[in-house]
């Protein structure tokens, strides 16, 4: 049982900086996900945690112990690899037993032939076999112990890899994109199983992924990384609803958030894409801001007006209960994507002109440098004769 403290850890390969002074405290028993696109440094951070890579500067503690310079095997961490990294020449049982054999048997006792006859070897080996069997049963792979990894399906290999990590009861589990090699259906199933495993074991999990749905569904907290920097660390719902950085807002959420570039025209009013939006007071006049709108923040409006975007429908994607409307709005750059409740939007077709309204308190505003602008006072609504549909009609 151990929390993790990452203190200003940086890593560079030659002149290329991969991690820039990342600091993060992970609580004991927490499920923390490092989320980011490939190349953002999340795997490097995990490898530094495991001790497979060495940081250029900064310090790491696991539990109360500083582990800089401590070898991977002595850090009390276990790791599950994206490729599973099972030893192909060993049976499942031997794969799972290896961490225990390396720890509980001396190098003499591990000798291929003679080791068996040394005092104590038999008793220890029997205990190892029992531990392996118990772990395998718990993961539902008890019947596979005599097989080799090559004879197993992807999901089974995944379980063996988890079993090999689990069997020695580490204080910290490190997982490097463990679900990437599975098919979509199995991925959803294993997602639940890993979450369940975390609950059962109650130890710290650090999980690396580029898949936001994995991050959002499994984690206690998500740490969003980009270009070697930690942008935001927060619970999933907060990451989504209250991003601190434009890049976080853009990375999280599917379909993507629409961010319009606007200019603050008057106090409390920003101009963009042929319309005006109510914004909090106190933003400097003339400054450039990004106006972010999540797809589900849009509601159908009857006519053009303040807080309303108007454009022609480029594409309608039916998703069953919802539909995604891609709207070409003059001056918006990329198409705006809105998520509408299917039953309210039956008449919608491509090529039509559509008005989409947004309640001002659902806007996410970003400064020119990408930082979030938080309202210091409630935003006054400039839609005096609100042409936005009544609240109960709102599409969420």
């Amino acid at each position: 049982m151990a929390g993790i403290l990452i203190d200003k850890v940086a890593k560079s390969f030659g002149a290329t900086s991969v991690l820039r002074e990342v600091s993060l405290a992970i609580a004991d028993g927490e499920f923390l996900t490092l989320l980011g696109p490939s190349g953002c440094g999340k795997s490097t951070l995990l490898r530094i945690l495991a001790g497979l890579d060495v940081q250029t500067s900064g310090s790491l503690s696991i539990g109360d112990r500083v582990v800089d310079g401590v070898r991977p095997k002595s850090r009390d961490v276990a790791m599950v690899f994206q490729s599973y990294a099972l030893y192909p020449h060993m049976t499942v049982a031997a794969n799972m037993a290896l961490p225990l054999r390396m720890r509980r048997l001396s190098s003499l006792q591990r000798l291929p032939m003679a080791g068996k006859f040394l005092p104590g070897t038999k008793a220890v080996t029997e205990r190892i076999d029992e531990d392996v069997r118990r772990t395998a049963e718990a993961l539902g792979i008890g019947h596979l112990l005599d097989r080799k990894p090559g004879q197993l399906s992807g999901g089974q290999r995944q379980r063996v890899a988890v079993g090999r990590a689990m069997v020695r009861q580490p204080a910290v589990f490190l997982m490097d994109e463990p679900l990437s090699n599975l098919d979509a259906k199995l991925r959803v199933q294993m997602r639940a199983e890993i979450k369940e495993l975390h609950k059962r074991l109650g130890v710290t999990f650090v999980y690396v992924t580029h898949d936001q749905s994995e991050a959002m569904t499994m984690s206690d907290r998500v740490a969003v990384m980009l270009d070697g920097e930690l942008l935001q660390v927060a619970p999933p719902q907060e990451i989504y609803a209250d991003p601190t950085d434009r890049r976080v807002a853009e990375f999280i959420g599917s379909p993507k958030i629409s961010i319009l570039d606007g200019i603050v025209e008057e106090t409390g009013i920003a101009m963009t894409a042929g319309t005006v939006f109510s914004i909090p007071k106190g933003i400097e006049l003339g400054s450039q801001i990004g106006i972010g709108i999540r797809p589900e923040a849009f509601v159908l409006a009857e006519k053009h007006g303040p807080n309303t975007l108007t454009g022609s429908i480029k594409l309608v994607e039916h998703m069953g209960s919802d539909l995604f409307v891609h709207l070409d709005v003059l001056g918006s750059g990329a198409p705006i994507i809105a998520r509408l409740l299917a039953e309210r939007a039956q008449h919608i077709g491509e090529g039509q002109t559509l008005h989409l309204g947004v309640r001002p308190d659902r806007l996410l505003l970003f400064a020119a440098d990408g930082m979030r602008i938080r309202p210091s006072s409630p935003t006054p609504d400039i839609t005096a004769n609100a042409n936005v549909l009544p609240l109960k009609e709102r599409v969420l």
Binding site: R47, A50, G51, L52, R71, P72, K73, V77, A78, M79, F81, Q82, S83, A85, L86, Y87, P88, H89, M90, L98, P99, M102, R103, S107, K148, P149, G150, Q151, R164
Partner: protein
């Protein structure tokens, strides 16, 4: 009317399908012709240069034919009886086996060690790779002459060095006790680079993840890493190196011919040299052919071992 119409339709259908069948048949014939004409040249060469000679060797092994003679008579298996009764052949056979038993493990162990050293080093990898691979590329006959100079009992570099260091010397190539070991050492020296290059390629293909997993699992000392990851993952390469080096060791001829001519006595005689001497120096082609048959059986057996037994053990499926 409708009946007539339907009959016509059916007939048309039948004709159409008949035509289609013929077209298909023509297509098949054309395909077969293409296949044979493409494979033909290779097949002709294979038969005339390989299968016929092998068959001829088997046939000649059962006769008393002498090279260039106009008559021959069938003698059954008496050549083989003579082969196995002949002390010279038995010495040659035992020497060859001994030679292979020294050269194959020596080449594999040293080749792997050098590959591991080169792989773990950072600088001059290409240089080390090149100098170790050179002996394999060089003409062995020329190299054998160089070795002869090195091994010369009085003016050779090896003995002069040993004298300087005060270590007893030997007449390496004329001494029954040392000659086979010296030939084996040259054999190892020659094959080392080949084994090394293959092992280097094999090492490159081992996923880094496995070493990482071994580190975390606690197998992080070099011997544990070697046993847990490197050696098992090199299984297929090792198998290949084993077979190729064993075959090359069995067919050692150049060094024997240039350096010892099988001497002193029979102490450095090997199968291929015996075969050559019996067939082309003593012109006892029938006898030589039966040696060739024995040699062929060994080679085929080795290849079969690879295909059947070992293949399953080194590919972990």
């Amino acid at each position: 009317m409708s009946l007539a119409a339907s009959t016509t339709a059916a007939e048309t259908g039948a004709i159409a399908s008949n035509g289609a069948r013929k077209a298909l048949q023509r297509h098949r014939i054309a395909e077969t012709f293409t296949a044979w004409s493409l494979a033909g040249p290779a097949l002709v060469f294979l038969v005339t240069l390989f299968f016929l000679p092998v068959f001829a060797v088997f046939a000649i092994a059962l006769t008393d034919w002498q090279f260039g003679a106009s008559t021959l008579s069938f003698v059954g298996f008496s050549n083989f009886k003579e082969v196995f009764a002949d002390e010279g052949f038995r010495a040659s056979f035992v020497n060859t086996i001994l030679y292979v038993v020294i050269v194959v493990p020596g080449t594999i162990i040293l080749g792997l060690a050098i590959a591991l050293l080169i792989e773990s080093g950072k600088s001059m990898r290409t240089f080390y790779r090149a100098i170790h691979f050179l002996p394999f590329m060089a003409t062995l006959t020329a190299m054998a002459i160089a070795w002869e100079a090195l091994l010369h009992p009085t003016i050779g570099l090896i003995n002069q060095t040993l004298v300087t260091l005060g270590i007893p010397t030997a007449n390496w190539l004329r001494d029954e006790d040392t000659v086979l070991s010296v030939l084996a050492a040259i054999g190892i020296w020659q094959n080392l680079g080949y084994a090394m290059v293959l092992f280097l390629a094999g090492l490159k293909s081992i996923p880094q993840d496995l070493y990482d997993a071994a580190d975390i699992d606690g197998a992080d000392m070099w011997l544990d890493r070697l046993r847990t990851v490197t050696l098992p993952m090199l299984g297929p390469v090792t198998m290949f190196v084993f077979i190729v080096v064993a075959l090359r060791a069995f067919e050692t001829f150049d060094t024997v011919q240039v350096l010892t001519q099988g001497g002193p006595g029979h102490s450095s005689e090997m199968l291929l040299y015996t075969l050559y001497r019996e067939s082309f120096q003593y012109l006892r082609t029938g006898y030589g052919s039966s040696v060739a048959v024995v040699f062929l059986i060994i080679v085929v057996a080795l290849t079969l071992i690879q295909a059947r037994v070992m293949d399953k053990k080194v590919h972990y499926q």
